[in-house]
Symmetry: C2
């Protein structure tokens, strides 16, 4: 945890940003895998972590925005519990670490919320993404589960987004720690990759680095010979000579701040000429996007600059054609780059995604519905203290190519006959994590291999 004053100041800031009533923070419970007591590793809710820092299951906190009182509800453990869990500090001692003075047994919560509602006071809550928290809102506030997101408090969402978007120095240090571990994860993969190894074996080595550093993954590893599948989480293939291997993986520190990096590497240590051509286009888009990151720049423009570079490069290969301004405006490039160029990162790898991308990335305005652009999570102007990823990529997705060709989409911008020859190419991207500074940006963490030469110098160099 950070010092208690950090959490106190955050809560004080929230109170200033939010009107009267009650702010209700639902901590997460343990998540059962295949029975109640066999659980996934516990992951606390990120907003709960941000305001209270307490990283155990079954906690709920309330801030009385009018009176300024704060109450933590949670279980106390008995000696018989200690047999299974080991000794734990009392709830009061844990609350004190977050600067919270009042603690209550969970049984008191329903009663207290009932009294608050009876007094006609507003109860602000955030959109629940966990089913156990939908059950709590139903039991405590009578919120129907299918209405829980719609009934969440927009002022609460906006106030949290406002605070969490701008990272403080201690958060930046923690994120940088996560990125450094993530770099080690990617170096481990680069050195291990070779024909005949399985995706699972490399993913396992990558995961080990994150665990050994005392944290875990910030999201399920993508470790795949099918880079064109954007969220390929199965690891069932074997690496073969001539192919590429894409790793998208990041660490989460013990304090739950995220790193998120991607690297594409040739399985046998040397990119083919065709791979190099496409790789260098993606890298040019990457550098273009990165150099556009500065305060005031709308992230939509950063994204479009990357799209434009990809379109230009693919025109150079004869895969795209015509007026490229027009092509990018209409979304023709999205056949090869159907997703966003980057997203916010912090306590969540897609930071605050549970609060709604419209609030996090679009200042409350609606997102585009255009294929490709609708997957951009962040369009708003950047501010100092934002941490974002940079990750343009180029993907040849056979099913998508077939569909577009059958529908004859953008024939003036896409040469389908030439694209046909790339249907077995796969996909590639690089990804770095970047802090927006007062006058520009700073790439976070230790340097990660990016160029063809830097990548090739490392692939397969580890003993098996």
């Amino acid at each position: 945890m950070f010092d208690r004053d950090v959490y106190r100041a955050r809560r004080e800031g929230l109170r200033r940003g939010l009107g009267p009533g009650i702010a209700l923070f639902l901590g997460n419970d343990e998540s059962p895998m295949n029975y109640a007591d066999n659980t996934y590793r516990f992951r606390q809710d990120s907003s709960f972590l941000y305001y209270f820092g307490l990283d155990t299951a079954g906690l709920v906190a309330i801030i009385d925005l009018d009176e300024g009182t704060e109450t933590l509800y949670g279980p106390e453990l008995t000696v018989e519990d200690f047999v299974w869990t080991g000794p734990l500090p009392s709830l009061g001692d844990r609350a004190a670490l977050a600067g919270v003075e009042r603690v209550m047994a969970p049984a008191r919560l329903e009663e207290d919320l009932g009294r608050i509602r009876q007094a006609g006071r507003a109860v602000h809550f955030l959109p629940p993404y966990r089913p156990e928290n939908k059950l709590k809102l139903l039991a405590w506030l009578g919120v129907p589960p299918d209405r829980a997101s719609a009934e969440a408090s927009v002022p609460f969402i906006r106030a949290v987004v406002e605070q969490r978007s701008v990272k403080s120095p201690e958060e930046i240090a923690e994120i940088e720690k996560a990125v450094d571990i993530s770099v080690d994860m990617h170096l481990a993969a680069l050195r291990l990759v070779r024909p005949g190894f399985t995706e699972a074996r490399i993913a396992a080595a990558v995961h080990q680095v994150a665990l050994a550093a005392g944290g875990d993954l910030s999201f399920p590893i993508i470790a795949t010979v099918h880079g064109e599948v954007l969220h390929q989480h199965a690891q069932t293939e074997t690496l073969t000579s001539g192919g590429m291997f894409l790793l998208d993986a990041g660490a989460e520190t013990a304090l739950h701040y995220a790193g998120d990096l991607s690297t594409t590497m040739p399985v046998d240590g040397r990119f083919t000429d065709r791979q190099k051509d496409v790789y260098r286009i993606a890298l040019a888009a990457h550098e273009t996007a990165k150099s556009a990151l500065k305060p005031g720049a709308p992230h939509l423009d950063v994204h479009l600059a990357a799209c434009r570079m990809i379109a230009e490069g693919l025109k150079g290969l004869g895969l795209m054609k015509g007026d490229l301004d027009e092509a990018v405006r209409r979304g023709a490039h999205a056949l090869f780059f159907p997703c966003g160029e980057g997203h916010m990162m912090g306590l969540d790898v897609h930071d605050m995604e549970d609060l709604g991308e419209v609030y996090v990335g679009y200042e409350g305005r609606p997102k585009s519905t255009q294929f490709g652009l609708k997957s951009l999570r962040l369009a708003r102007p950047l501010r100092p203290g934002f941490v974002v990823t940079v990750e343009p990529g180029i993907y040849f997705i056979p099913q998508l190519i077939d569909q577009w060709r059958a529908e004859n989409r953008f024939p003036e911008h896409i040469d389908y006959d030439r694209v046909e020859a790339y249907k077995d190419f796969g996909g590639l991207r690089n990804e770095e994590d970047v802090l927006i500074t007062g006058n520009g940006h700073r790439v976070l963490g230790r340097k990660k291999p990016l160029t063809v030469e830097e990548i090739e110098a490392l692939v397969g160099k580890a003993d098996a």
Copy 2:
């Protein structure tokens, strides 16, 4: 998956064992970590896997027990989904792998269940342990979430327990595969353990072995210098010379069958004399329990035989005293062994724990309320095809010792002055997985180091 005939035969067996009505199988959904789309690795419900084998999220199946028809409800993916997930077989093709002929869109389910209930037919469901499935039962059948376990079908539970308790040859082969991987996990830890390494580093290496084999863990790793804490899942300590390190970890295969082993090792490669004394008592209890495993033997007796060996050994050290039959009957030994000697293992590491230990381990009869004995998961007579763990241990839990001493519990059986000197000892156990055969038992998997000499020969022998 196994062959479709395996699943067909299991469902046919279930139909014979269960009366009229509808059997409703709720598959699991993805479990969100910190927002809806950042999920833990998917874990299908084990009974769903047992009867249908299909390992993707969002599936529900219904067996009409009267007509014999079977229907799988689940989503179909579009080309736009393939951009993110890669191409997947159609729902119909996946259902066919399980021998199921009818598939429906999820939207049809509520309608179909409504018609079934209107006809006054029984809808059997199993106790839900996942909050998302409590929400489904509320939405589809009007079952209040806090009543969902109570309203689960006892005939359905009994019929499933009857089938899943006895492992078939293909299941035993899969469990043995899991145990073999688990042995490799323990060998990795043994070779790596040394002073100065962190628990997290060793746990990471252990986890890597499970992942590289194409599966994952069957439960969160216990990798601790505090063996006396039975379910210590935090890995924040550093190993120190003179201490012991306890690993309780098992693999889950790609088909989700479990292994579950424990090993206790001296951090610097040599047990102290005091550690050896206690280790050998626990090992004697382990061998006593193992040799008692055979068809017809009540597992309660196996447990009590282990308790008796522990009590005898501790009497030899002067920690226990008096009439040991009486001590074990009254539960005095539970100060040092407050849990059960073993449990069923299969698709779940505590097999079928979600269905209720009373049905799985006690044939529907109530469990003991005595401290220690109440934590025994399996008491019923063993049958050929059962797979059980053997894991007696000896633990010195300071808080428990203090409490018992303050309450002066069993002064005729415990010499608290002598126990005081062991309060810094920690705890230890070994654990193996055993199949009950037609006339005895067989330890599953490759041989795992057990004796003091076997353990000492391996500790710290790996390059770092």
